[in-house]
């Protein structure tokens, strides 16, 4: 039986999703395109290794939405939070299911944490991967540092009382770099120190597509499993991912 592919499309444009949809239309494989903000109302049936969405049995997923996104558009304001939490729980199960091919696989820690880069840093540190140092709290008073928000984004170092109250993470790098990696290859950006080890660890967790931020000395600052992908590099990324899936199957 030819099992289907589910593509979860985030709000807005996504170059990788657009390519995957176009490609799926040219193949005879069933393809289901789901809007991420409506995942809560997807007709679902999961029993052991059988996963069926809107009546289509699937064995592969491309997921390009953020775990913390609202998934319950169409539900009443009263029910939306609950519905979103329920859908999120079901999708974590699908995305961690050993029988489903997933780009990218998520685990329970990166899924529930509002700061996936902090999780990856913790894992990298545990593995002894060389990282750019981060100071937490009111540790430095230095204009060479930037505030790397736990929840994403970067801004100027805040004043001391804020650093104390929010346990801010400060990074000594004013112009961080961005490296896109996919299936063991660097797609764009500079090669970083210990990058091979970081890529290997990401793959252990099922993450083949990731973004790495580096400091002025090419040390890794942070990683994300939901990297931005520009239209110019999307075809190469898609080709590599397709090849990887064919090998896995």
């Amino acid at each position: 039986m030819n099992l289907g592919l589910a593509i979860v499309r985030p709000p807005g444009d996504d170059a990788l999703v657009s390519l995957a949809i176009r490609h799926s239309r040219e193949s005879d494989r069933p393809c289901l395109v789901l809007e991420s903000d409506r995942l809560a109302s997807t007709r679902t049936y999961i029993a052991n290794d059988h996963v069926e969405l809107n009546g289509i049995p699937i064995d592969s997923v491309i997921f390009r939405s953020h775990p913390a996104d609202i998934l319950s558009r169409g539900f009443s304001a009263e029910d939306a939070e609950y519905a979103s939490a329920e859908a999120s729980s079901v999708w974590l199960h699908i995305l961690s299911h050993p029988g489903i091919h997933v780009i990218n696989r998520f685990d329970e820690v990166t899924w529930w944490c509002t700061s996936d880069w902090a999780v990856w840093r913790h894992r990298f540190l545990t593995e002894g991967i060389e990282l750019s140092p981060v100071v937490i709290g009111d540790g430095v008073d230095d204009e060479n540092h930037i505030w790397w928000l736990w929840t994403g984004g970067r801004t100027a170092t805040p004043p001391s009382p804020i650093r104390r109250k929010m346990a801010t993470a400060l990074v000594r790098s004013v112009n961080p770099t961005y490296t896109l990696i996919c299936a063991g290859q660097t797609i764009s950006g500079p090669q970083l120190l210990d990058q091979e080890s970081a890529m290997h660890l990401l793959e252990v967790y099922g993450v083949v597509l990731a973004g790495l931020y580096g400091d002025d000395e090419r040390r890794i600052i942070a990683a994300t499993a939901l990297p931005d992908i520009s239209m110019s590099v999307a075809p190469r990324v898609f080709t590599l991912l397709k090849r990887r899936w064919q090998v896995q199957k």
């Binding site: 939490a85 729980s89 820690v109 913790h122 937490i136 109250k165 929010m166």
Partner: protein
């Protein structure tokens, strides 16, 4: 003299109890209230806690002054007093502070009950139950479903009917699957878990490190947590293979303290339902007299461990609600 830290929400009942119990046993207590971070206490460190400075009140502390920490984080923590932000800014503020606290706890060289990243699969019941099954626990058959026909087929094939419950970690009632549920599934709705009902009684197994403490719960309710009237608690000894499986699962999940829920059928078969990474152990301790809190204290302050056999909570006459 050992000291432990109480981290997160000091108003949490289990947190307050652990503080009281530590005081009874002469163990020092340092309160690290999340909502008072930056006011009553603060820290600065790298992620390995090199050169860390922990300041509590006016006092600078060494991390080695503390051996363990009991962590209870409120899902909706308070803002610090006097800080006024817009609702959106508040959300960001609270998330930032929580992640900073988690980074500190990840690095702290303490015995944490429990580490923030441990046992997170419980937030997705389907994922969690699949993990438990892979670990060798017998699980009542279950499906995830939002399709009426599939649900009706599953219920029809179950020998004793089904219960249904939410998929997320949000606290919700377990109920008997009935016609009203099927009617609900006629309309677009979120998926839920349908599971074979196991007639019998409940058992909560708490593991604290290598120790296993089991409490039997007899109740006529489908979900005794929400319908406590007539609920009776008693100590019970689980089969050795169940104890071993619970201890191993907790260890592999990084949990010092875990609470496993079982249904035990008329043939004495133990069916696992879930493993809670933030178990509310007070009702079981109060109901059975089993000194679960003392075992937790022993794990956090090993040099102050004592052979306590009877819970102070049970003898105090206090009823946790």
């Amino acid at each position: 003299v050992s000291s432990i830290a109480l981290v997160g929400d000091p108003a949490d009942l289990a947190n307050a109890y652990m503080g009281w119990l530590a005081g009874q046993r002469g163990i020092g207590v340092v309160t690290l209230d999340e909502s008072r971070l930056g006011d009553d206490w603060s820290y600065k460190s790298d992620e390995r806690c090199n050169g860390v400075t922990l300041t509590v009140g006016e006092r600078a502390m060494s991390l080695s002054d503390i051996t363990g920490a009991f962590v209870r984080l409120n899902p909706r923590p308070d803002m610090p007093p006097g800080l006024e932000l817009s609702p959106i800014e508040e959300v960001v503020y609270l998330r930032e502070r929580r992640n900073g606290l988690v980074a500190f706890l990840n690095a702290a060289p303490w015995i944490l009950v429990n580490r923030p990243y441990a046992g997170r699969s419980n937030g997705s019941k389907p994922m969690h139950m699949a993990q438990l099954a892979r670990s060798g626990f017998a699980m009542p058959k279950w499906i995830v479903v939002s399709d009426r026909n599939r649900a009706a087929e599953f219920i029809a094939r179950s020998p004793n009917g089904c219960i249904y419950k939410s998929c997320s970690g949000l606290r919700s009632h377990v109920r008997i699957a009935d016609e009203a549920l099927l009617e609900r599934l006629d309309r677009p709705t979120t998926p839920l878990i349908l599971q074979h009902y196991v007639p019998g009684h409940d058992v909560r197994v708490h593991t604290v490190g290598e120790t296993c403490i089991a409490s039997r719960v007899d109740s006529s309710a489908v979900d005794y947590r929400f319908d406590a009237a007539g609920t009776a608690y008693s100590a019970v000894t689980p089969p050795p293979e169940i104890s071993q499986s619970c201890i191993l699962f907790a260890k592999l999940s990084g949990l010092v303290l875990a609470g496993f829920d079982f249904r035990v059928d008329s043939r004495s078969r133990w069916w696992c339902l879930e493993a809670n990474p933030v178990p509310t152990f007070l009702p079981y301790e109060a109901g059975t007299g089993q000194p679960i809190g003392d075992r937790v204290l022993d794990s956090m302050a090993p040099s102050s461990a004592r052979p306590v056999t009877r819970s102070r909570l049970a003898t105090s006459g206090i009823t946790p609600t």
